[in-house]
Amino acid sequence: MSAYLITIATLIAIYAIVVCGLNVIVGFAGQISLGHAAFFGIGAYSAALLATKGGLSFWTALPCVIAVSAFIGLLLGLPSLRVKADFLAITTIGINFIVEALFLYVPFFGGALGIGGIPRVMFFGIKLKGLAFFYLCLFFLVVVILICWWFRRSWAGLACFALREEESAAASMGISPVRFKLLAFVIGTGMAGLGGALYAHYIRFIAATDFAFPVSILFLSMVVLGGMGTLWGPVLGALILGALPEIFRPLVDYRFLFYMVLLLIMIRFQPGGLLGERSAVRRVLASIIPGAHQ
């Protein structure tokens, strides 16, 4: 594989990890989040700070990074318990703008210059780069998918599905809306933190704009395109929207417009996403493989 392809593949794997996390919040628990890039950023910045200022290795820092992201996710998930869906959408946009502003204007976070000189990940004395780092990302992606797979089968997952469908009925069956929504936020933002840590150690130079609001839109587009609430949808979405810019490189200038038109057509004609219930792809799959409805 050429270095160029490895770069694209690595970024897609990282995006897929983050988007799987967003899918837990939006797809499984039905809580709209338009500020997921903020948690991706919190993961990246805490990893970068722990590595450069704290001198910790990637592996010792990783649990802290995930814990920090998940904890802040828990704090910022609290508004979701108070507010209606529309408020939540706007609140999460607000969180994204505020977090980006903090990165940009607080000197501790490197200000407009961002944080550079983030070391590569070491694995038993070997510097992971290129293909080796891609395999590391792929490993974490597999872990994340396994967690999502199990979550969908667990009582916790079922409780989240029930809340997504009909909150009052779910509550009448002993499901605490507070507890399970926060659980989804914690898992989802934790995954974003993991993705952020990998991103920081891969790019090795991060700045506030990497985690701005349009990035959140990109993540949400990936979930919607792939199919909200499905297991493989986020991965497919990350793959398509991650690879498209490269495939359509000749279009350069029209690329972003093309994206948005694609997203618009998708949301207009197949709001359930490519792998959603009753989608065209799902129907074709079901006709080829009997019993492939899961």
Partner: protein
């Protein structure tokens, strides 16, 4: 003290412009319960079309009218082709659609008119006023007068006409309004016409006020106005106007005096989260 008053006057102008953009958003939310992010895209288009007609004819009146008509059509097109088919889905579906439209409009403007900043050098036909050593420029006067005019017009429409009554009925409950013989889809379209035409005026005013028109000029208002309709109480038009005025003044004064480290764009959201903690229904919201 003189500086303070100048800042205050600028702040009110800022707030007026926010109010003009937020109006459309509040109207649409009130009637369809949709977060119409693409409204700021309509505002950008308004500025561009206004500039185009102004350069073509040299008349601000023709520029304003042309821009309002074009934006009204754009607004209705967004409503018919994007929102209306998506009403049956959960609210985030039209919201994502709206964001996609917003970004697509930005891109179209960039591709057609180019990425650079265009100047909008027009002199607005309003008098300059001297008040105890403070000069209110003709541009500021124009912003004040036009905003006041638009607000008065809208207040008249919603309070004293049959159209206003139909709009209020439709915003209460679409099926019931239909049952009462109101053509609710027409009312929804008229709401978009009103909101979008006002956005066109706002776009032209901002273009002249800053002497700048550029593709991403709608980006910051797009999301800031969302915060404003939340602070005002979702769907409350007076609430949105008050919130817009307060924000305009607060931003200008805080940036001018306090020199706070946060950029002004985050301020609206900080205020919003504060208001939500204090009154989760917003300033003038119900329920």
């Amino acid at each position: 003290m003189q500086l303070f008053f100048e800042q205050l006057l600028n702040g009110i102008a800022m707030g007026s412009i926010y109010a003009l953009v937020t109006l459309g958003l509040a109207l649409v939310y009130g009637i369809l319960r949709i977060l119409h992010v693409a409204h700021a895209g309509v505002y950008t288009v308004g500025a561009y079309i206004g500039l185009f007609f102004f350069q073509l004819t040299g008349s601000l009146i023709i520029a304003a009218l042309g821009s309002m008509v074009f934006c009204a059509m754009l607004g209705v097109a967004i409503e018919r082709f994007v929102y209306y088919p998506l009403l049956k889905y959960p609210p985030y579906v039209p919201l994502i659609g709206s964001i996609a439209v917003m970004l697509a409009i930005e891109e179209l403007c960039r591709l057609i008119a180019g990425p650079h900043i265009l100047t909008f050098a027009a002199k607005l036909p309003f008098p300059e006023i001297q008040l105890g050593g403070i000069t209110i420029s003709s541009t500021l006067m124009a912003v004040y007068c036009i905003t006041a005019g638009v607000l008065a017009f809208l207040w008249y429409i919603t309070s004293f006409t049959e159209l206003g009554l139909a709009m209020r009925a439709t915003s209460q409950d679409i099926p019931i309004a239909d049952a009462m013989g109101i053509n609710s889809h027409l009312i929804v379209s008229i709401t978009f016409v009103l909101g979008s035409a006002i956005a066109a005026i706002a776009g032209i005013l901002v273009g002249i006020y800053y002497n700048q028109v550029y593709p991403t000029m709608g980006a910051v208002p797009a999301y800031k106005t969302l915060a404003l309709i939340v602070v005002g109480g979702l769907g409350s038009v007076p609430g949105a106007v008050i919130a817009a005025m307060l924000l305009g003044v607060a931003e200008t004064l805080l940036i001018g005096y306090a020199n706070i480290p946060l950029p002004r764009d985050a301020l609206a959201f900080i205020a919003m989260i504060g208001v939500l903690m204090w009154r989760s229904e917003g300033l003038l919201g119900s329920r």
